[in-house]
């Protein structure tokens, strides 16, 4: 348009021409400006877009992948990285009545037919309840967990309203193994009972849940412990069993079992009955297993300097009560014989010389007056007499009565007794080499060395002979305590414990095995005491776990007993 006007005016004269040229120039400049502005706007737009992408919008692709691969709950592994609990993409069966979206009934076939088809896939469902739920037309879960092959069968029914959403679920590949250590996760995603509860925040924290948490548990050792405990428990028809394997130098728990167990993959009312942890939560009078601790306290205090000193073994009347042994052990016993024959009277005399205050102090140093140190939320408080202990109380504590602690307390105390005298708190988290807790000194190293000899003697000559696995240099003490019932102790229901350590020439692991109310059956030679039911468990367990833990059997090697051997005669006589 403009150009046409200019052309028309050209012939009209010089002044006009100058005017036209000026206007044309103006127009041209304007257009250049316009185009320049457009380019500038485009450049600014591109820049803004770049700035938006770079600053405002977070990189979408990267985030989606990281999020998709981040588990909904952190993984728990054993000390070697084997997964014990993981978030697992599983199928659920969800009823969505709105899926058809055609205004008609939610199901193609009748609810009864669909329920029958589902019953054919899942034989355990209640067909009538299912039919009622399908007929009600309310959305909801029909089943929380469905196996992939069952999911395919549900698709084959051909009902759109039956949806199979993928949901991340907590799965325990090892089944019931280490159930009390791990605990379980409820439907709201909260951890209960074991490390699932103790590490709940850590496992749910989006910043940290991508990294698996390593426990101190060794799955192979845990499996062996549970297997042997279960076999021992069933053989003598006990109502329960507990066991623990503890590293004496770091306090790491390598295995911890409480039987009967529950299945964390399938928590129901039946499982809820067994969530109580016998190792960390139940306190027992652990009986004679306390005698080595008492003797160690006396050696440490200097009241026992001569192990050949003989103490009377006759029934010991004190304060209207008579301390006696299960059978006659002769007129007198020396210290190794007291332990080998497990004499209550002899131990009472040792305590009498030691003094109640000193014994109480050692027991407190061993952590017997507080809840056990471990990460698990369920920890039992010991039955611990406060104030000054009278003579009788100290004597009964000396042989493991009048004080009730958890098996974990006993394991930590034994670890301190055999490792050179350092007490350390037990832990369920893997400890890196050199990072072990410094602990506190309870016994002198010389006392610990002497106790290693004495414990080995019990396994070689005394009540622990059934635990003496060849080549593993096991040492340990039996304990059979009557359970307190209404109106005094119950003669026929016992708690049998065997507290052991191996190899005694350089102790590395403490093993505790405990049976609750074992029966006198043929498998235990019609005996109820620990020598016949729990000691054999340890004797079978140690050869299974020793090589896994780097302790190789060696018949040519043992702790030197030659200085104490003359004190107990040639064979140590009867156990």
């Amino acid at each position: 348009m403009n150009s046409f006007a200019v052309q028309v005016q050209v012939p009209t004269g010089r002044i006009r021409l100058a005017d036209v040229r000026r206007r044309a120039l103006l127009v041209a400049q304007l257009r250049v400006l316009l185009i320049g502005a457009m380019f500038a706007a485009l450049a600014a737009g591109a820049l803004l877009r770049i700035a938006y992408l770079g600053l405002v919008q977070p990189a979408p692709a990267e985030r989606s992948m990281a999020q998709a691969l981040l588990p909904s709950r952190g993984e728990i592994t054993d000390r070697n990285g084997l997964p014990l609990a993981r978030a697992f993409p599983a199928y659920a069966l969800w009823y969505n009545p709105g899926a058809m979206d055609d205004g008609g009934p939610p199901l193609v076939r009748s609810p009864k037919e669909v329920a029958a088809a589902l019953k054919a896939i899942f034989p355990d469902v209640d067909e009538f309840a299912l039919a009622r739920q399908l007929a009600s037309g309310k959305a909801g879960y029909l089943r929380r967990r469905v196996l992939p092959e069952d999911a395919n069968k549900v698709y084959a029914i051909g009902e759109l309203a039956l949806e199979l959403p993928r949901e991340t679920d907590r799965h325990y590949p090892q089944g019931t193994m280490a159930a009390h250590v791990l605990g379980y996760v409820d439907e709201d995603g909260l951890g209960h009972v074991g490390m699932e509860a103790a590490l709940d925040d850590r496992l749910r924290d989006p910043a940290r849940r991508g990294e698996p948490v390593a426990l101190s548990i060794d799955a192979r050792v845990q499996g062996a412990l549970e297997d042997e405990l279960k076999r021992g428990m069933l053989a003598v028809d006990a109502v329960g069993a507990a066991g623990i394997v503890l590293d004496v130098d770091t306090g790491e728990v390598l295995a911890l079992a409480s039987l009967p167990e529950f299945d964390p993959n399938k928590m129901d009312a039946e499982g809820q009955k067994y969530v109580f942890n016998k190792v960390t939560n139940q306190v027992y009078e652990l009986g004679s297993t306390f005698k080595p601790l008492t003797v160690a306290a006396a050696i440490d205090a200097g009241t026992v300097t001569d192990l050949s000193h003989r103490y009377s073994a006759r029934p010991f009347p004190i304060g209207g009560f008579t301390i006696s042994d299960s059978h006659d052990l002769g007129a007198s016993l020396n210290v190794p014989e007291i332990l080998i024959h497990s004499s209550n009277v002899g131990t009472a005399h040792v305590v009498d010389e030691l003094g109640a205050a000193r014994l109480k102090q050692v027991m407190a140093d061993l952590g017997m007056n507080e809840r056990p140190y471990i990460e698990l939320p369920a920890r039992g408080f010991p039955i611990w007499a406060s104030g000054d202990w009278p003579r009788l109380r100290a004597m009964t504590v000396g042989y493991g009565h009048g004080i009730a602690v958890t098996p974990l307390h006993l394991a930590s105390a034994y670890a301190a007794m055999v490792n050179g005298g350092i007490w350390r708190p037990a832990t369920l988290q893997r400890v890196e080499p050199g990072q072990a807790n410094r602990g506190r000194r309870v016994f002198r190293a010389s006392t610990s060395a002497r106790m290693n000899q004495l414990l080995r003697m019990i396994a070689v000559y005394g009540t622990g002979r059934n635990a003496n696995a060849p080549g593993f240099r096991v040492g340990g003490k039996t304990g059979s305590a009557e359970k307190p019932g209404s109106g005094g102790y119950n003669k026929s229901s016992l708690v049998s414990t065997f507290a052991a350590a191996f190899p005694m020439d350089r102790p590395r692991y403490v093993v505790i095995a405990m049976l609750d109310e074992p029966k006198a059956v043929a498998a235990s030679s019609f005996q109820r005491t620990a020598a016949w039911n729990t000691a054999p468990i340890v004797g079978r367990l140690v050869p299974r776990i020793g090589p896994l833990l780097g302790v190789l059997p060696d018949e040519t090697r043992d702790i030197d007993l030659s200085d104490l051997q003359p004190l107990v005669g040639d064979d140590g006589s009867e156990g």
Partner: protein, 166 residues
């Protein structure tokens, strides 16, 4: 407006159009690559989940309880005994029997691996500097170098040591 300026104007439009076209192509290309990346990532996620599923299934089927059951029913393996372990070569050697009188000499082959350390040089007691060995023992040096060439490194000296010890 001159034809010149018209051409120039069209040129501007053309340049703009080309730029816009290039930008559009680039934009589309970027989007294509990005969606490809997202698709690959989805594939990775799906494969990772499948891996997790299979791994978990394998671990569930091979859990300690199951292995124990198989062992009890099918295999019957027991824990190894002390006799099944060897701690070191000394223990292995202890299983051998001593040589009987009149048995043939064992064949011994000496060899050395790697570089031997430098032989200490003879130092002049006056100057404290190493002496040229050829000045001291010209014949032996010539002999040795000949042997080395013929027999290979270090065979002769070691053989001589064994010979002298017997």
């Amino acid at each position: 407006m001159t034809p010149h300026s018209r051409i120039r104007r069209m040129g501007w439009f053309a340049a703009l159009a080309v730029c816009a076209l290039l930008y559009l192509t680039l934009h589309l290309k970027v989007h294509a690559v990005r969606s490809e990346v997202i698709r690959s990532e989805r594939q990775i996620v799906a494969l990772e989940q499948q891996k997790l599923l299979l791994e978990t299934e394998f671990q569930t089927r091979s859990n300690q309880l199951q292995l124990e059951e198989w062992n009890r029913v099918d295999f019957g393996y027991t824990a190894p005994t002390a006799a099944q372990f060897l701690e070191n070569e000394r223990q292995l050697a202890s299983f051998g029997s001593p040589r009987a009188p009149g048995a043939p000499e064992p064949i011994r082959v000496a060899s050395a691996s790697g570089e031997a350390p430098a032989y200490p040089k003879l130092v002049s007691p006056l100057t404290g500097k190493p002496i040229d060995e050829e000045l001291v023992e010209p014949e032996r040096r010539a002999n040795l170098s000949g042997v080395r060439l013929a027999e290979g490194t270090m065979r002769i000296p070691l053989g001589a040591v064994i010979g002298s010890s017997q």
